[in-house]
Symmetry: C2
Subunit: 197 residues, 2 copies
């Protein structure tokens, strides 16, 4: 069975199920730790059916990355909006550097879950990853301090990767107390460094 485009409604739903299964699988098991069989099993299907929806395995990651980054940005923005004015950036920081986020990489930040693997991807894959990251930064840059919008964006562009690095470290630490402490100290540090406007 060769890959072919289809517009059937059932097909479209299945395709979306595969993409979001992949988005979780990649973040939990790493890009090179996930096989077609794994993903299809998560989606409740068998390996052969994959090629009805996608030309090959490489076509999947970009779509999964898009799915995942949209999810995180939306979640952070919701938390920010739910917080009172003056506490919104704090809410983003506290949500990102939460134990909840640390313990559930499958539904969390791609940069933290896959950053060092993505950094080794080829130019094209990295470019599309950057595009998505930029869209996400634009969406949250408004909550950052800075005199101009460029400055706010640049502050966001420094803070987000820094928090990703801390989250990665908190996932590496084997001592739960040390991991909790790192998150707490980092939340304090970043909140003090980027005072809410």
């Amino acid at each position: 069975m060769a890959h072919r485009k289809s517009a059937g409604a059932k097909s479209e739903r299945t395709r979306r199920r595969i993409v979001s299964a992949a988005a979780a699988a990649y973040r939990e098991q790493g890009i090179s730790g996930v096989g077609v069989r794994d993903i299809m099993k998560r989606a409740g299907l068998t390996q052969g059916g994959f090629y009805f929806h996608f030309p090959d395995k490489d076509a999947l990651f970009p779509e999964a990355a898009w799915d995942a980054s949209a999810g995180l940005a939306t979640m952070l923005l919701e938390r920010a909006e739910a917080a009172p004015p003056g506490k919104r950036l704090q809410a983003i920081i506290d949500t990102y550097l939460s134990r909840e986020h640390r313990d559930h990489p499958g539904s969390g930040c791609m940069m933290a879950a896959l950053g060092s693997e993505v950094a080794r991807n080829d130019r094209k894959a990295r470019a599309s990853f950057c595009e998505r990251a930029n869209i996400m930064l634009e969406r949250i840059a408004g909550y950052f301090p800075g005199a101009t919008s460029v400055e706010r964006r640049q502050n966001a562009a420094v803070l987000m990767p820094s928090m990703a690095g801390v989250l990665i470290a908190s996932r590496v630490l084997t001592d739960p107390a040390a991991s909790d402490l790192l998150l707490e100290r980092a939340r304090e540090f970043f909140a003090a460094s980027f005072p809410d406007t």
Copy 2:
């Protein structure tokens, strides 16, 4: 040929060559992107000889990680010592967040090169990774601001992963100007946040 311990001087030199070839290969290609054949080829040998020095592939990564982390810590400390007092933490930050470091992951920080892969390793592998990271933090904590040694260590424990996250992001960015700018803004930010004592 089964694996056996040997104390011959030639054997010991070869073993070290394999370990440092692996340390570079892992950081350049990722943990799961490197095979026994790759590593032995880098060391100028063939795949079979690997099992004269190691029981299996899993025994290699811990040694390679040790080799790599010692190298980075030594380099950062040298740069700090070479700087005038009052500019030493700045020297660590500037060295870590340099274009040089970004462009040569093979001889750089393991956390930046492999962090998100290591975070998925089992408890035992992560524990030995943490142990080494702690030793490295202790060695450089003296350059950090803080009233007590615990405070200085905690500051180091927040800064180092934050810088790792920024370095990862700078490697993902495909636009060289954007990547350079991110590094520059991050150097300024961290230097301002952690004033030299």
